[in-house]
């Protein structure tokens, strides 16, 4: 049932109980030290008084009596002080969220939700890598296409060149020209036959 006051420790840098303990020990030490001084001062004064019938042990007993009395009251009063300080001064009310923890209310992510988010991120990274590789593949194909197109256009140009040569030499239509030549050579052959027959 002891409240460790960890949230307060997060804010202050120390637990309130540690602080109160420090104060308690320091106050108690001062009380004892001061009483010790009182005791030694009285004993010194006694030494200076001639024929003094008061013994040092008597003084010691008186000091102890007074110290005991003071300690009792000290404990009671300190207890009350501690209670007030722990409840009202060195505490963070339940409804208060420290500024550094605002993110906990803005992003209340459970472990599972966070895992899902991390998995989603991993997936996106994989997708991006795949798209990047796909982009490279597409660009590589574009380069390949340039080379292939260049070759095909060269062949087409060659065909156009053939057509130009034919045109330059007056052959607009090879088929027709060959048909014409074949016909003519057939005619020539027939003429030759005719001439041979007539000369015989």
């Amino acid at each position: 049932s002891v409240n460790p006051m960890v949230y307060e420790a997060q804010f202050f840098g120390f637990t309130p109980q540690t602080c109160m303990l420090r104060v308690y020990i320091a106050f108690q030490d001062y009380l004892f030290e001061t009483m010790q001084v009182v005791d030694s001062v009285i004993l010194k004064k006694l030494d200076a008084i001639p024929n003094c019938k008061i013994s040092p042990s008597e003084i010691r007993k008186s000091t102890e009596k007074f110290l005991l009395f003071m300690k009792e009251h000290f404990e009671k009063l300190f207890g009350k002080m501690e209670e007030v300080l722990l409840q009202l001064v060195l505490n963070i009310p339940k409804n208060v969220l420290l500024p550094e923890d605002k993110v906990q209310e803005q992003y209340p992510y459970s472990k599972e939700q966070l895992q899902a988010l991390q998995e989603e991120i991993q997936q996106l990274q994989q997708q991006y890598r795949a798209e990047a590789a796909a982009g490279q593949a597409l660009r590589a194909e574009l380069e390949e296409q340039k080379a292939v197109q260049a070759e095909l256009e060269k062949i087409l140009q060659w065909f156009d060149g053939l057509d130009n040569i034919c045109r330059e030499h007056g052959i607009s239509n090879f088929k027709e020209s060959f048909a014409f030549l074949t016909q003519n050579s057939k005619k020539l052959q027939e003429l030759l036959k005719d001439v041979e027959v007539k000369s015989k």
Partner: protein, 47 residues
Amino acid sequence: GDYLQTSQGQIISSKPNYQQILEQQGEVLSCMELVFNELQQTVKLLQ
């Protein structure tokens, strides 16, 4: 195989064989060589 999962996966997977295309043009040129040989012979014959 990984490309199929990408946005343009189908296009990448259907890449034609450009090497084959160029090799086919080689065949075209061989064919043309034959055609011209024939033409040459025919012209010689006609001459």
